[in-house]
Amino acid sequence: MLAYLIRRLIGAVVLLFIVTAVTFSIFFLVPRLGGATADDLASRYVGRSVGKEQIHQTAERLGFTDPLYVQYGRFVKGLVVGTDYNYGPSTEHCPPPCFGYSFLTQQPVWPDLVSRIPVTASLAGGAAFIWLVTGVGTGVISALRRGSVLDRSMMSVALAGVSLPIFFTGLLALSIFSYGLGWTAQGGTNPMDETNPIWWAYDLILPWTTLAFLYAAAYARLTRAGMLETMNDDYVRTARAKGLTERDVVLRHGLRSALTPILTIFGLDLGLLMGGAILTETTFSLPGIGQYAVIALRANDLPKVLGVTLVAAFFIVLANLVVDLLYAVVDPRVRIS
C-alpha cells in the first residue's frame, strides 16, 4: 500500500511538471511561433500612448527578451527556491513556491492564490456536502419508490437542477432571498472575514445551495440509476433471502455498490471546483480561485493564469489520488485485486 502511495505521489509530481511545461508553452511559445515578438507581448502590459523604447524596457523587465528555456527555467526555479523582483526602489524576494509576479498588479501570485483558496474550499466543501447528502438521498428514495409520484417529482426537480445554469439560479436566488427578503448575505460578502462560524455559514448558504442544486440533480439521477441496477443483482436477492433487514440490504449492499461510480465523479467534481467554481464565484462575487481566474483571463495576465492552472491541476490530481485510495475502502473487490 505504501509503495503504491509513493508511486502515485511521484506520478502526481511528474504530471504537475508536465502541466507547467504545457501551460507555459501555450502562453509563451505559441505566440512566438505565431510571429509575436517580445515587444508585442510586452505591449499588453504598458499604458496607453507609450513609445517603442518604453515597450522594450517593459519587455526586458518582464524577462520576455530572454530565450524561452531561460524563462521557463526561471519559472521553475521560482517554484522551487523562489525569486527576486524589482519593484522600483528596491527588490523583493518571492519565497517558494513563487508562481511569479502579476504583470499588471505587480503582486506575487502565490499569496493571492493562498488567500483565495479558503474561500473556494469553503464554497466547494459546503456545497459538496449538501449535494452529496441530498443527491444521493434523493436518488436512493427515488430508486426504492420507482414509478411513484414521489420518484417522478424528484426526478423532475433533478432535471430542472441539471438544466438551469448557475448564473440564472444564482442571480434569481440573490434577487429573491438576498435583495428581496433580506434573508441571506448579499453578493460580494467574503465569508473568510467572519470570525463566527454561524456568520460564515450564513454568508455561504445561498452559494452552497445554488451550487448544490446543480450537482445534486446529477447525483440523484446517477444514484437512482445505480441503485436500480444493483437492487436487481443476485447478491441483493441473496441478502434478502438470508433474512437481512431491508435497511441493511439497501445501505450495506445496494448503496455501497452503487457508490463506486459516484465516488469517482465526486472526486473529479470536487477537484474541479477546488480549482475554481468560476460561475458561482463570479455570480456571488466571492473572492475565490475561480474569480481570480476570470480576472486574470480578462486582463491577459499570464502569471496569474499560469498560477490558477497549476492550482487547479494540483487539486484534480490530488482528488484523483484520494478517490483511488477510497475505492479500496468502499469496494472490497478493489482491495482483493
Binding site: 504598458v46 499604458g47 524596457q57 498588479t105 434573508w183 453578493g187 473572492p287
Partner: protein, 592 residues
C-alpha cells in the same frame, strides 16, 4: 422509528434555518452608518448638471463597488476617469477640476497651487506657487520638491506604466528611459523642473503648450515624499494630502479611505471638496449585475465605474417610473465613432469617404448603443460638453437620420467608383454594440454599392496589434475602424489631440489615431497649443474639428451618455462636465 428520526432531522434543520434567517435581519441591513431616506424628491435626471439633495452634513460610510480593479490607485500611475475622480479624495494635485455641478466643474482651479500657472517664454515655461500649510498625512509639510519628485517618478514607464505620457512628451530634455529609481538626485530632470524655493515649482517644456493648467491637474502632480516612495507598491498606500488617507488595502478585495487628520480645509478654498462621509469603502471584483441589484436595494451607494448600469438593469429602470426617478442620463465626453482609414484605397479619395458619411444610417448607429438613452446622434467630433466646443452638421445627419442615398451616389461618381466598392470594417470582438454598428453600416452602405466585410479583433490587442497598428490595418484593408474615444479632459486638446494629430501615430502600434493624417489639422493643432488666449484657442480646436469633418476623415456616431442609478442613500450628488459621472469629491450620504 424511521419517521421519528426524519422528524427530528427536519425539526433541527428548520431551527437552524430559522436562526440563520433571524440572524440575517440585522446583517442584511445597509452597512452605511447613515442610511436613510433622502429629503429631496427623486426625479429623472435630477443630478445631471445640478445638485440633488444638497447637503453639508458629515458622517456615515460611503459604499462603492466596481466589477474589476482599475489600473492603479497610485496617482502617478493611473489613466482611468473614475480614478482621476476618486484620487481627489486622498491627494491634492497642483490644479483640480472644481467639485461643482455643470460646466463650471470642467474648469481647472488651484488646489495645491495657490493660483493658476504663470506662463512665460511663449508658454514654454510655467510657474506655480504652492499653498502654505499643506501637510502629508504624517504631518510633514509639503514642499515643491515633493511635487517635482512626484512628476519625475511618473516618467518611469517601466515601473509605473499606466499613466499618461504628457510629461514624458512635453518636458524639456528628459532622457529616454528615465527612472528616478536609478537617478536618486533627479539630475536627469534638472532642466525640466526647477524648485527655486520650497513654495515654487517651474516646468520647462520642449514646445509651447498654452493649456498647461490641464497638465497640472493630472494626479501625477500630487506630491510624493521621496523617502516614502515604494515604486510599484506605492499604490498600496499613497501618502495622503487630501481629506482622506488609506486605511486598509487588499489587492483582491479593495480598500478603505478614512479621515486624514492632517488635512486642513482652510488650505483648500477653491476645489469644492466636501469630504462628507466619515469613511469610504471600495470593493473590487463585484459582479456587474450584483452591483446594480445592490444599488436598487440600497445596499450599495455608488457604482464606482460611473459608466452606467448593465443593459438588463437599464431596461428594468426605464420601465418602472419609480426606478427611473432615481436615474440620471449623464452625458459623457465620449464619441462613439468610425474612423475612415485614408491609407486604404479608395478611401484615400475624399469623395469616397464622403459617400460613406452620406450613406450611413445615423439612427441605426444610435440604436446600436441603445437609442437616445445611449447617446445623441453626433454631427461632428467634439461632444457639446467639451469646453469651447461647437456643434455643426455639415452633412445633414440630423435631417437625414437614415442617410442620404442620392448624395452618397453622387459622391461615389466623383470618386470614380459609381458602382461602389468593397472594403473591410473592423470592431472589437467582445463589444456587442460595436458589432451592431458594423452590421448597421453594412446594411446602409450596401444601398449605394459599398460592400463591407466584417473583421473583428480582440479588445485587448485592438489598438496595439490590429486596428491601431498602421501596417496591419493597411495590409488587411481595414478601411472602416469602429472605435470609441473619451477625452482625457474636457478641452479641445484633451479630446482631439490623441485622435486627429497625425504625428502621434506610431508604426509600432498602440495608436488611438486610427488613420487620420491631415497636414492642415496638424498645423491648426500647433497653433492651438501655443495660443494662450482661451477663447481664441477654443476657436482653433473647433477649426480642427471642422477640418476633419470637411475631409470626411471619420464618421461620428453618437455622443455617449450613461444611465447612472442614484439610491436614496445619497446626498449632495451631481454630475458635471469635468467628471461626467457623480463627483466623488462632493458626494455624501443622506442623513436620518
Amino acid at each position: 422509528m424511521r419517521w421519528n428520526r426524519i422528524t427530528t432531522v427536519t425539526a433541527v434543520s428548520a431551527a437552524v434555518a430559522l436562526s440563520l434567517v433571524a440572524c440575517g435581519g440585522p446583517k442584511a441591513t445597509p452597512g452605511g452608518g447613515s442610511s436613510g431616506g433622502s429629503s429631496a424628491k427623486a426625479e429623472f435626471n435630477a443630478a445631471v448638471g445640478k445638485n440633488f439633495n444638497p447637503s453639508d452634513k458629515k458622517g456615515g460610510t460611503l459604499r462603492m463597488a466596481i466589477t474589476e480593479q482599475w489600473d492603479s490607485t497610485d496617482p502617478g500611475d493611473t489613466y482611468y476617469g473614475l480614478s482621476w475622480n476618486l484620487v481627489r479624495n486622498y491627494v491634492r494635485p497642483l490644479m483640480t477640476f472644481k467639485a461643482v455641478p455643470g460646466a463650471e466643474g470642467a474648469k481647472p482651479v488651484p488646489d495645491l497651487a495657490e493660483a493658476p500657472g504663470v506662463p512665460s517664454d511663449n508658454a514654454k515655461t510655467w510657474t506655480y506657487k504652492l499653498r502654505k500649510g499643506v501637510k502629508f498625512e504624517d504631518g510633514t509639510p509639503v514642499t515643491s520638491k515633493d511635487v517635482k519628485y512626484a512628476v519625475a517618478r511618473s516618467l518611469d514607464k517601466a515601473t509605473l506604466p499606466n499613466g499618461p505620457t504628457y510629461f514624458n512628451d512635453f518636458l524639456l530634455d528628459v532622457p529616454k528611459g528615465y527612472s528616478v529609481y536609478k537617478d536618486k538626485t533627479l539630475a536627469g530632470v534638472a532642466k525640466a523642473i526647477e524648485t527655486p524655493d520650497d513654495q515654487t515649482i517651474v516646468f520647462h517644456l520642449n514646445k509651447p503648450f498654452a493649456s498647461f493648467d490641464y497638465f497640472a491637474q493630472l494626479p501625477s502632480t500630487a506630491p510624493v515624499p521621496q523617502a516614502k516612495d515604494t515604486g510599484a507598491k506605492y499604490k498600496e498606500h499613497p501618502i495622503a494630502t487630501g481629506p482622506y488617507k488609506f486605511g486598509t488595502y487588499d489587492s483582491n478585495k479593495g480598500f478603505d479611505l478614512v479621515r486624514n487628520d492632517q488635512y486642513d480645509p482652510a488650505t483648500d478654498p477653491d476645489s469644492g471638496r466636501k469630504a462628507l462621509p466619515d469613511k469610504i469603502t471600495i470593493a473590487y471584483n463585484v459582479d456587474g449585475t450584483d452591483i446594480d441589484n445592490r444599488l436598487l436595494a440600497g445596499d450599495l451607494d455608488v457604482d464606482l465605474a460611473g459608466t452606467g448600469v448593465q443593459p438588463e438593469t437599464q431596461a428594468k429602470i426605464l420601465a418602472d417610473p419609480n426606478l427611473k426617478a432615481h436615474a440620471d442620463n449623464v452625458p459623457a465626453p465620449r464619441l462613439n465613432w468610425t474612423v475612415l482609414n485614408s491609407q486604404v484605397p479608395p478611401l484615400d479619395n475624399v469623395h469616397c469617404r464622403k459617400a460613406v458619411l452620406y450613406a450611413a444610417d445615423h439612427e441605426g448607429y444610435q440604436r446600436a448603443y441603445g437609442g437616445p438613452i445611449g447617446g445623441d446622434i453626433a454631427t461632428n467630433l467634439m461632444p457639446p460638453g467639451v469646453t469651447g466646443a461647437e456643434s455643426f452638421d455639415d452633412y445633414g445627419f440630423l435631417t437625414d437620420k437614415n442617410g442620404n442615398v442620392d448624395k452618397a451616389k453622387d459622391e461615389l461618381k466623383q470618386c470614380g467608383q459609381p458602382n461602389g466598392f468593397a472594403i473591410n470594417i473592423t470592431y472589437r470582438t467582445d463589444r456587442a454594440k460595436e458589432k451592431a454598428v458594423a452590421e448597421t453600416l453594412q446594411q446602409s452602405l450596401k444601398r449605394v454599392g459599398i460592400n463591407l466585410t466584417t473583421k473583428p479583433y480582440p479588445t485587448g490587442d485592438y489598438t496595439k496589434l490590429y486596428a491601431g497598428k498602421p501596417d496591419f490595418a493597411k495590409a488587411n484593408r481595414l478601411g472602416l475602424i469602429v472605435y470609441s474615444w473619451g477625452a482625457d479632459w474636457n478641452d479641445g486638446f484633451g479630446f482631439l489631440s490623441q485622435i486627429v494629430d497625425s504625428r502621434v501615430i506610431r508604426d509600432t502600434g498602440g495608436n488611438t489615431n486610427l488613420g487620420i493624417r491631415i497636414p492642415e489639422v496638424d498645423k491648426l493643432i500647433d497653433q492651438a497649443m501655443s495660443t494662450t488666449d482661451e477663447t481664441a484657442r477654443n476657436k482653433l480646436w473647433v477649426d480642427v474639428d471642422k477640418k476633419v469633418m470637411e475631409q470626411a476623415a471619420a464618421l461620428p456616431g453618437i455622443w455617449a451618455k450613461g444611465l447612472l442609478y442614484r439610491p436614496d442613500t445619497l446626498a449632495n450628488v451631481f454630475s458635471n462636465d469635468g467628471q461626467n459621472m457623480y463627483d466623488y469629491a462632493a458626494i455624501g450620504l443622506a442623513q436620518k
